[in-house]
Point group: C2
Chain length 457, copies 2
């Protein structure tokens, strides 16, 4: 007897789940219907800043698999179709074709919720002015590019200085805009500690990006035609022909909330380790709409990142396909290339460690990406946190140039394994002059951290 799987959301998590389920169960035993309200499916949202900035030439380069390719593999992918309601009791969804306006109801045996995240749009006067853009979906990216093509002015304001905010600031300056970044924190990149974020600020200034710190936006002003004209903070007004919201994203769980499904502190769906929605054996959720366990702090977090979404989809599809897989959690690894810098972090920063009740030592070292005598050796700053007394690694932040970012993977694996910084000093990392000084920068940091743990006691 054939079952029906309904997937709500047609990007990384949803369609990875559908694809994996299809690999394991043929169309004769599992019917798969997937709904996507946007115009695009299976794309790399992480690539949008590079497309806007011109590094990636074509929008379609970001699309991993077209709707037709999914349909050819017996996944009934219905584009521009918005799910309006999850009827958990009735085991059905209600959907609306956004082209025709027709509504329909479809029952399911198994349900996957992969509704993603949406950019945070602060409740400000003028937030809905034309020319104010979030950049979460490919549709968002296209709308922003349409605005850039249409407007004549060259003044851009980015609100917020998280990864997306900084990447978008760089993309816009590469397109010839005057860019001002307005943000609340004391340094850009709030996923870094402020001392490390300050290195990013220096690089942004070096590219000609204006940064306004510790500034709260209170209003967005528009002209009579409803087009954005400026961004207003408590103390200043910044003229703007276009505004990009880079404040971050929040789980898109409107449907899940209405259906009474369990949500966490950040508004994301809560699942078990097999990515099943807690208390619901036949409902899975994954990607940017869920909260994930942070293995270092022991708490749930919301992290919108394509690599997690793909892993979730793989786990979900394996479960639906009758196999066994889990997503054990994250350590909070993130890397970014911004303003000629490579920036990376994993684990906990000072604030998050303190919030988790951890006492720690924090050390910072300067080293180079290659042996000092080898051409192209670039400076690299590594900050490392270790738990007081146990010496357990808690987190690493790296800011440097070529070769800096992916070094954070060393720490990501060490965090997963629960290593101490003293154990890390003996790690057998790859060494050759074109790739590392004889002591890898991560080992230099580990040595200093181990010394600090001993000294602090």
């Amino acid at each position: 007897m054939s079952e029906r799987l309904v997937v709500v959301g047609g990007d990384a998590a949803g369609l990875a789940a559908a694809s994996q389920a299809r690999r394991m169960r043929g169309a004769d035993e599992l019917e798969i219907v997937a709904f996507e309200r946007g115009s695009f499916a299976s794309y790399s949202a992480c690539g949008i800043p590079y497309w806007v900035g011109g590094d990636v030439a074509e929008r379609d380069d970001l699309i991993a698999r077209t709707p037709e390719e999914h349909r050819a593999r017996d996944i009934d992918l219905r584009m521009r179709t918005e799910v309006l309601e999850l009827d958990i009791e009735g085991r059905a969804v209600r959907a609306k074709d956004l082209e025709s306006g027709a509504e329909s109801r479809l029952s399911y045996d198994k349900l996957v919720i992969a509704t993603g995240a949406r950019p945070i749009r602060p409740d400000l006067p003028g937030i809905d002015a034309r020319g104010v853009h979030g950049v979460q979906t490919l549709d968002d990216g296209q709308e922003l590019l349409d605005t850039l093509d249409r407007i004549e002015g060259k003044r851009a304001v980015v609100v917020g200085a998280g990864y997306i905010g900084v990447e978008m600031a760089e993309a816009l300056i590469n397109r010839g805009y005057e860019v001002t970044v307005v943000h609340r924190g004391s340094a850009p990149m709030s996923t870094l500690d402020p001392d490390m974020g300050a290195l990013v600020a220096t690089a942004m200034l070096g590219m000609g990006i204006e940064i306004v710190c510790e500034a709260e936006v209170v209003e967005i002003r528009a002209d009579d035609a409803g087009r954005v004209r400026s961004v207003v903070t408590a103390s200043a007004e910044y003229p703007a022909d276009v505004v990009v919201l880079g404040i971050g994203v929040t789980p898109e769980t409107t449907l899940a909330r209405a259906a009474g499904l369990p949500l966490g502190e950040y508004g994301g769906l809560l699942t078990d380790l097999a990515m099943r929605v807690r208390g619901h054996d036949d409902i899975w959720a994954g990607g940017d709409c869920v909260e994930v366990l942070d293995l270092v702090s022991g708490r749930e977090r919301h992290i919108a990142l394509g690599t997690h979404a793909n892993k979730h989809g793989q786990v979900i599809g394996t479960g639906i396909g009758g196999g066994y897989a889990t997503f054990p959690g994250v350590v909070g690894t993130a890397v970014s290339k911004v303003c000629e810098l490579e920036v990376a972090r994993t684990g906990l920063g000072e604030r998050a460690a303190a919030d988790a009740g951890l006492q720690f030592v924090a050390v910072t070292i300067e080293s180079t990406s290659r042996a000092g005598y080898y051409p192209g050796a670039d400076p690299m700053t590594v900050k490392m946190l270790a738990e007081r007394r146990t010496g357990r690694l808690l987190g690493v932040q790296i800011v440097g140039r070529e070769g800096a970012a992916k070094r954070v993977d060393i720490a990501a694996v060490a965090l997963t394994a629960g290593m101490t910084v003293d154990q890390m000093t003996a790690l057998d990392l790859g060494y050759a002059p074109p790739f590392s000084p004889v002591w890898d920068p991560v080992l230099v940091a580990a040595r200093k951290a181990a010394g600090a743990v001993r000294a602090r006691g």
Copy 2:
């Protein structure tokens, strides 16, 4: 009461040990005398191929710290002074000043043996012809460059195709020589499995390096003046104006052997985890003259690598200084940049795994260094070995371009932690389009390996 520490060998391990001991104990309580028979101390032997090839301009760029700098820190470093005998019973060494010929005897309270390694010189007719060079020490490198300056011919033969052999072949072709590499194996880079070594062979051929595989050198022919003329194998003769030996190195333990100290299967000194020579509480040994525990195979190996030598020196100096540190062993990580490729390996290859009595699955995947749509995404091949049944990671080999080599560190940490390939599939590695596809190549390999473990049972 002051003690005397005698250090035999003035490169990475010996002088790192001396420096760390000095940091912990002042000159009033510890006298330090170090003997170095060569003309250089504290240099990066790993950098020699780049100096010969011209990437590093000056010989002195490779010197981390001059003899004068060591002396300024109360380390009595005696250059061009060869230790002739270790008198273990008498707790003294006998040394000869190579300039004056004067011999002396010096007692010690603590002894560090850091005599390094020497290039393997096969016992062949003609091996001592002028123009036949090993490249282990900075003196060796200088002699090779002197030969290159003197000779007019442009034909170079490299015997052996390990890391040094391939790096030297590249250095010589960059200097305008016609280079032939003659080696015994079926592919270059015997630290890689032959299927991965074949990728290196292709790149070498692409640079115009001639490779002769499965060829045993039987003779080196010289002209009447004693200058090298050709390299002869069982089936052919290769004209040569200069010959570089890249066969590998062997521990330089002549003194230790004569003194009856314990040596292992590869002729290296055997130590405990604190790097003390087994059975001798006041004698330490480290660097290229010792064997180290391979944590994956559980056996002792000989690995000549500056990063290990520095770690050994740190551990030894800490012990002599009255602290506590150990060198737990290696997982066999090595990275190299050869012929426009980045090459890396860690853990066991197929041969070593079988020799250790392990049954395993081996998988190979092709991926890219960045998201496929991001400019500069280069192909990368990852081979992964996992133990049958347990799924424990056994080894990884990577051949690619930019961004390939240091990815091996992910596997080096996972090996150290004893992770299974299934556990690795959930690793939270850094992802952003400029640095990785959404599934990092190492994760793609881990997924495939985990599947192979399940299938094989």
